[in-house]
Symmetry: C2
């Protein structure tokens, strides 16, 4: 298959999704030629509950082996391309799955975990999320966790974290760090997006920013245009370089609204308000819309190689840097 | 290092131990030139508790990397020999660690589980243990578990099972089955030992019997002589062949008596009587005593190659047959 956008030389990777996984979604991944997806397996779940999710994934891998498989190494992206399948890489958005036990990072790594967020909105045992009033930075256990993740090859994901915790994690880590799904706050100023200081720290440390397509992270929400989004990507490239950029769409396709309530409220509040998923931009509704992103990025001035880097080539490099044993 | 007993060509493997693991025990393994040990990680524990034991093992592997490492494939026996270390293979003596979920066999396999007993003395979800009055054989879930273990490469261990369940598991399995730690009931008639029917089924299916050195399984208990034990091994070889025989010492070295109470009573009874570990035979107290076994087997008439088979060569073959993915 040739690609009009000139990105055929590089894999296509989404740095964050949490769909209601189904054959339909997997077929859309194939239709969109998405070679690899970082899939969330934990929002507020305990270790035991996270293992239930892994068991459910194992069933999906067995029943849809023609479409998806469990990715654990960067080379699995290449295997996926060669086989016409999509490699699913597990990630946790919350260290709740550690049950407070540093030893469970190694256990979860063995079970395939390749990304771990140090915080999810709130303060955690490891650091502080963006939604807290105060961010006291990386904790004692947070520093232990960063070292253990560096050793094992679990990527440190600072999405949903506070700025200070993010900067301290980047400084503490001996390996590149990612903010897998967020946009620059200079474009759309919400606390879930990232400051220029964080962008510069990602640049200086060889990290990665995955641009989010989740409406709350977009200027104008679901009404944000493809042109506005891609212009923002171009401005970010000017600041931190094309090599630091990827997509982390945060696509929550086909999920009922109860899922966004679980994301927001977990078990930490008894006063959680009803919540609903916002409408996606009409130009990014599912995995088939990566072609539209490619066209938009080209229109924003990126050449074919650069579009390929942003849509997956950079993630492929980050996976290779992140998932092997540490030195 | 040359071995006077002529067994140097084959690895030395113990098919079952549950020591209070320590540097002392690991150094004795090295002194006894034991290349691999099947170590129990579950008696009555839940999945979550079993993971705690795996975490504790990971700490031991990290702190004693010069002496032991986590074995997962037959080739690790050879790596252990080449490196002068001991490969530790995980096994569960009770399917309690499955929490009733067939999907956890795959998860535990991923975490390194290579042996799983279908029952431990009592009736389980999979079959029935030797201590029950009635044995109704392999259950519906038991048949599913056997197929899943065959698929993944988890050895089916029928120690502690009833005769009917054992025979039905051997018949249901497409891969060789073991009774990793027991002796012939024809020699010492307790229900934990195995009948001639079970021995013949192991012979006919290419399985393995690991002879136990636990006093309750020995004729005369701790007073059993090395000569009597090795004569029994020779009689068993006459019935089922040398290739079916190994050692599964059931060594519970340095454990407090509270551990044998946990083994017997778990959480299934409120009326568990106090229990104490019996005294080991003076000729088998720790891993250094494998040399004495070698001498005793030689005295009982086995040649050097046969002694090597019984002390590890046969287990090496069984590991190779058992631990890869099923066909």
């Amino acid at each position: 298959m040739t690609r009009a956008d000139g990105t055929a030389a590089q894999p296509r990777i989404d740095g964050l999704q949490y769909a209601r996984w189904s054959e339909k979604v997997f077929r859309q991944m194939r239709a969109g030629r998405v070679d690899a997806v970082h899939a969330t397996i934990c929002y507020h779940e305990s270790f035991r509950e996270t293992v239930e999710t892994i068991v459910a994934w194992n069933r999906l891998f067995a029943s849809h082996a023609d479409l998806v498989f469990h990715g654990v190494a960067a080379a699995d992206v290449d295997h996926a391309r060669a086989q016409g399948r999509t490699a699913i890489f597990f990630g946790a958005q919350n260290p709740s799955c550690l049950d407070g036990d540093i030893g469970l990072i190694e256990v979860l790594h063995r079970l395939g975990l390749r990304f771990l967020q140090l915080t999810y909105n709130n303060q955690s045992l490891l650091g502080t999320g963006h939604a807290e009033a105060e961010d006291a930075g990386l904790t004692r256990m947070g520093r232990e966790a960063v070292a253990e993740m560096n050793r094992l090859g679990v990527a440190i994901d600072m999405s949903h974290a506070g700025e200070r915790t993010t900067l301290e994690a980047i400084a503490a880590s001996t390996r590149p760090v990612t903010v897998s799904h967020a946009n620059p706050a200079s474009w759309h100023d919400v606390s879930r997006n990232v400051s220029d200081r964080v962008l510069d720290a990602l640049r200086d440390s060889g990290g990665m920013l995955g641009f989010s397509l989740y409406p709350l992270h977009l200027k104008g929400g679901g009404a944000c245009t493809l042109e506005a989004f891609c212009t923002m990507v171009a401005r970010t490239a000017e600041r931190i370089g094309v090599a630091r950029l990827g997509i982390g769409s945060d696509l929550c396709q086909d999920q009922p609204d109860s899922v966004v309530e679980w994301m927001r409220n977990g078990r930490w509040t008894k006063r959680g308000a009803p919540a609903a998923f916002p409408d996606q931009p009409e130009w990014f509704r599912d995995n088939r819309d990566f072609d539209k992103l490619a066209a938009g990025l080209t229109a924003a001035g990126f050449d074919g190689e650069e579009v390929g880097m942003i849509l997956g080539g950079n993630w492929r490099r980050f996976f290779a840097d992140s998932f092997g044993p540490g030195r």
